[in-house]
């Protein structure tokens, strides 16, 4: 890992190679788990950070569900390295991993990610063929069984917000569902996107407040406050429906509906100049400022067992 450039964007192969190196360098802490395969038969890998114990409670992070949001995969790589190198050094990381496991899926949409490198940098969706349409792909953040088919998603396969023919039609989504349900002890899901500088929580598919709204809101407030202490980057926070728009079929709503109380989605930084094309010199600043917010959530989960 000492030769890996965390301040540069990388291809799928480079990131998958780096994951192997991380596992090699931290064999007692990090392992690689294949949770399924993509539509185009690419492996779906999750990095597992664990200090032992069976079926400990766990925290799930994913990056890159929307493939063109390159800053998110890059932040996933940086964060995984931060956790691996921080265990035994950083008291917070050590405390978390002494009690809980952390799972990170850095490339949640590998077909889309490969396609952004080979063919269309702006590709957002999966790469599955839609019967009866010339348009490819499903928005994997509208494909979850949580208000599936409702507002803020589309039934048109040509739309960037196409929800898919049915909930969990996408192998990339089903793999996460199977993994989290199979695990049975995931206590937090943090799904990372870009680029509107927000920290969001349920609900997305309806405007009613979630039963844990107040706690999630307080935690989000603290997280964005701590994020801002690094470079002064201001985030907004709140429920998806109230902060942006009603969006049905999202990851965090599915997680919340399935008993994961601490369910958040990040929208990483927006400089106002680059959108999805954030220059690579901003990878490390973005990851660095996001880290205290992630840590706030993880520590809160550790300290508030349920």
């Amino acid at each position: 890992t000492s030769t890996f450039d965390f301040g540069s964007y990388h291809t799928l192969d480079e990131i998958y190679d780096w994951m192997n190196t991380l596992v090699h360098d931290h064999p007692t802490l990090v392992s690689k788990v294949q949770i399924g395969q993509s539509y185009e038969s690419r492996p779906l890998y999750v990095l597992k950070f664990s200090t032992g114990g069976s079926n400990r409670s766990a925290i799930w992070l994913d990056t890159g569900i929307h493939s063109r949001e390159w800053i998110t995969q890059a932040v996933g790589v940086w964060t995984a390295n931060k956790i691996a190198t921080g265990y035994g050094q950083d008291p917070s990381i050590t405390a978390i991993l002494d009690s809980m496991d952390v799972f990170i899926e850095i490339i949640a949409n590998p077909d889309g990610f490969a396609f952004t490198h080979s063919t269309d940098r702006m590709w957002r969706k999966t790469r599955s063929i839609n019967a009866g349409s010339h348009c490819i792909g499903v928005d994997p953040n509208r494909n979850w069984d949580a208000g599936f088919g409702g507002s803020g998603s589309s039934s048109n396969p040509c739309s960037e917000l196409y929800r898919g023919p049915y909930a969990h039609s996408e192998g990339e989504v089903q793999a996460i569902v199977d993994f989290i349900c199979g695990h049975g002890n995931v206590k937090a899901v943090i799904s990372i996107h870009s680029y509107s500088q927000m920290l969001l929580f349920p609900y997305g598919y309806k405007t009613a407040p979630a039963p844990n709204h107040q706690e999630l809101n307080e935690l989000a407030k603290k997280a964005v406050s701590d994020l801002a202490t690094i470079f002064g980057t201001k985030y907004t926070y709140g429920s998806i429906a109230e902060t942006i728009y009603v969006a049905a079929g999202t990851t965090v709503d599915w997680a919340y509906k399935n008993g994961v109380k601490y369910s958040f989605t990040f929208e990483l930084r927006d400089t106002g100049h680059y959108g999805f094309l954030l220059p690579s010199n901003q990878i490390i600043p973005t990851a660095t400022e996001t880290w205290p917010a992630l840590l706030d959530i993880m520590i809160h989960v550790l300290e508030h067992p349920y």
Binding site: H10, N156, I244, S280
Partner: protein, 97 residues
């Protein structure tokens, strides 16, 4: 490989709900070549729209005709992509050496 020469990203600031509704007409179902990077949502939140060079005049005309204010966030998307690729190649070369 798809190129984006001359394509622009417009940063659009709707003034009221009516303008948000109008902006939603520019979605990829009715205009498959344009692409919201950030969808029109609630008042106070800007929308960002990727417009191919071939449709710039038409889309800017639409915004002007409805008095919807906008600025150009990215003048030429391909220039940024070229820069991004150059940086990646440079990083790879540095590592190799």
């Amino acid at each position: 490989k798809k190129t984006f020469v001359g394509d622009q990203v417009l940063h659009i600031t709707p003034r009221d709900e009516e303008q948000i509704t109008l902006l939603r007409l520019l979605d990829d179902q009715t205009h498959p070549e344009v692409n919201y990077w950030r969808h029109p949502s609630i008042l106070g939140h800007p929308a960002d729209l990727l417009v191919p060079s071939s449709r710039l005049q038409e889309i800017k005309g639409f915004l002007d005709s409805h008095n919807i204010s906008y600025s150009t966030m990215i003048e030429d998307v391909q220039k940024l992509l070229d820069e991004e690729m150059k940086t990646m190649i440079k990083s790879r070369r540095t590592r190799s050496s």
